[in-house]
């Protein structure tokens, strides 16, 4: 028998934490699930040196006061249909096995991942995602004294540079592909906003410290040193389109802004718009009793995620007036999100970085020249196994979309590779009904 909650929140980043606490404080029975070892999502990932983030801890205290059930190390892999109690179910997988959970309303707060674009050498040991390297450092990798080049695009690069420097790294350069005029429009707006001030502060701090920050430049190659099996990153080549320079480095942290993790929403038949989950003013997705918040609805940062989480929770509780009071703040962050997209739009030159031998699909080692002959993602999958490895196209999908204009087909269950047994069992009957009925009425 599986337990049923009034509200299940998937994703314990800023958005999911705010949604779970707000819902619980209206008296609803809430369960918050997340696949990381601890709550916090990406930005509030706890650090082995500094401990859990104070922001995350603040929300966690509110969750504890309301006895919200928090399940970490647990991922939603399959969605079930209606049960006799009218609730739907999710199948969760963890190290301990799997469990089913029923929900009256479901708030999706699955966040975003980095976009990776292939270029020669990007599979070498020593090359990491930008947020990726930051995550490894927070979780125990000692970077003190190591030379790091940070490259790609997006406000994350400056945040990562500042954080890695604080952890003792020697930042050899920050390389942003967006041209300065495109960024300047954004930065004049930035000066008046809070996240803007943070980004600007980081950039200013780095300049003071003499870290070379270049805009309108990108990494065209990562080169290795060492024998065949011992190959490690040795240097990167940086181009501005007119000239190129080589920078020696120990590590390269490279990411091209973020893409939303829409797979679970898609599995639940929620409609997407421009690649994001389509949500109305109360954060309701196109499927009844399912809500989308945070990076899922637009890449807009930590404040947007939290205000959307609160709106969704209040809407679930039927407190529409309270939710409405938060619309102006949310709308401001939505405008910020659109400006982010425009400021960090990818330049054309990046489409031609991969040469024929560059690996595009890392799981199955499929190269650019194998894919160049295919007309669609489907054809590529059939002929080359691109996207058929364990990441299920999460890394190569956004890359092939940019390189070839392919759109990935809707994901199929399970959302992540699971043990066969977890799939074959029928869904448990969800019959335990608790808490107050969930409002699904519109206003």
């Amino acid at each position: 028998m599986s337990e049923v909650f009034d509200v299940v929140v998937v994703g314990a980043g800023p958005g999911g934490l705010a949604a779970a606490a707000t819902a619980a404080e209206t008296g609803l029975k809430v369960c918050l699930i997340d696949d990381n070892p601890a709550p916090g999502g990406q930005i509030w990932r706890s650090s082995v040196l500094k401990g859990p983030s104070a922001d995350a801890a603040g929300w966690m205290r509110r969750l504890a006061e309301r006895q919200v059930e928090v399940r970490s190390g647990c991922r939603a892999v399959v969605a079930g249909g209606l049960t006799c109690a009218g609730a739907r179910t999710l199948r969760l997988e963890s190290q301990r096995g799997y469990a089913d959970i029923g929900f009256g309303a479901l708030i999706l707060a699955t966040g975003a991942r980095e976009r990776f674009l292939p270029f020669p050498g990007w599979t070498l040991p020593g090359v990491f995602g930008a947020g990726g390297l930051q995550a490894f450092v927070k979780s125990g990798f000692q970077i003190a004294g190591k030379r790091v080049v940070i490259a790609g695009t997006g406000p994350l690069l400056m945040a990562v540079a500042a954080n890695l420097r604080a952890a003792g790294a020697r930042i050899a350069a920050v390389i942003e592909q967006a041209p300065w005029p495109q960024l300047a429009q954004f930065s004049s707006w930035l000066a008046f906003s809070r996240p803007g001030k943070l980004i600007e502060g980081a950039a200013y701090g780095l300049k003071l410290l003499g870290v070379p920050c270049r805009t309108g430049a990108w990494v065209t190659r990562a080169s290795a040193a060492g024998a065949e099996v011992e190959q490690r990153l040795h240097s990167v080549t940086v181009s501005t389109g007119r000239d190129s320079t080589e920078i020696e480095t120990d590590l390269l942290a490279v990411g091209f802004h973020l893409v939303p993790n829409t797979e679970l929403a898609q599995l639940l038949h929620c409609r997407l718009e421009h690649g994001y989950v389509k949500a109305d003013a109360f954060q309701r997705a196109s499927v009844e009793r399912i809500y989308g918040i945070g990076e899922l609805t637009a890449i807009g940062g930590v404040e947007k995620a939290q205000v959307e989480g609160r709106i969704a929770a209040l809407a679930v509780a039927g407190r529409f007036e309270d939710a409405r009071a938060l619309f102006p703040a949310r709308d401001r962050w939505m405008r910020f999100a659109r400006r982010l997209d425009a400021a960090f739009a990818l330049r054309e030159e990046l489409r031609t970085l991969a040469d024929g031998d560059t690996t595009v699909c890392r799981c199955e080692d499929v190269t650019q020249k194998e894919l160049a002959g295919c007309r669609s993602w489907r054809e590529a999958k059939l002929h080359t196994r691109c996207g058929m490895g364990p990441c299920q196209g999460r890394i190569c999908g956004p890359a092939t979309q940019f390189l070839f204009g392919w759109s990935a087909p809707a994901p199929r269950p399970p959302l992540f590779p699971v043990e066969i047994a977890a799939l074959e069992e029928p869904f448990a009957q969800a019959v335990v009904e608790t808490g107050q009925p969930v409002s699904s009425s519109s206003t």
């Binding site: 696949d35 990381n36 070892p37 990406q42 706890s46 082995v48 040196l49 190390g73 991922r75 190290q95 991942r113 980095e114 990776f116 599979t123 040991p125 020593g126 090359v127 990491f128 995602g129 947020g131 990726g132 390297l133 930051q134 995550a135 490894f136 450092v137 979780s139 125990g140 990798f141 000692q142 099996v229 011992e230 190959q231 690996t359 890392r362 799981c363 199955e364 080692d365 490895g389 364990p390 990441c391 999460r394 890394i395």
Partner: protein, 80 residues
């Protein structure tokens, strides 16, 4: 002082701070995580459970996503 945990990576003892993930330990040991289909050495990429480049054997269980797993005392990690 932060508490540390003793594990082993490919038979070599390693001290990591408590709360460290296995992926961070693998990087700290200077190891690669897996060997790709065409035989290339790989290291963890995304740090958030998405890319599967961090798969290693932990206490005899193969293909574990090491960026999502915390180190425990005495853990034996084997990379490809």
């Amino acid at each position: 002082m932060h508490r540390t945990i003793a594990i082993s990576v490919n038979g070599t003892p390693l001290e990591v701070p408590s709360g460290a993930t296995v992926a961070a330990a693998v990087l700290q040991a200077g190891a690669t995580s897996r060997v790709s289909v065409r035989g290339e050495p790989r290291q963890p990429l995304c740090g958030m459970g998405i890319c599967y480049e961090c798969r290693v054997e932990i206490d005899g269980r193969p293909h574990q996503r090491s960026c999502q797993i915390l180190c425990l005392p005495g853990m034996q990690v084997t990379t490809e």
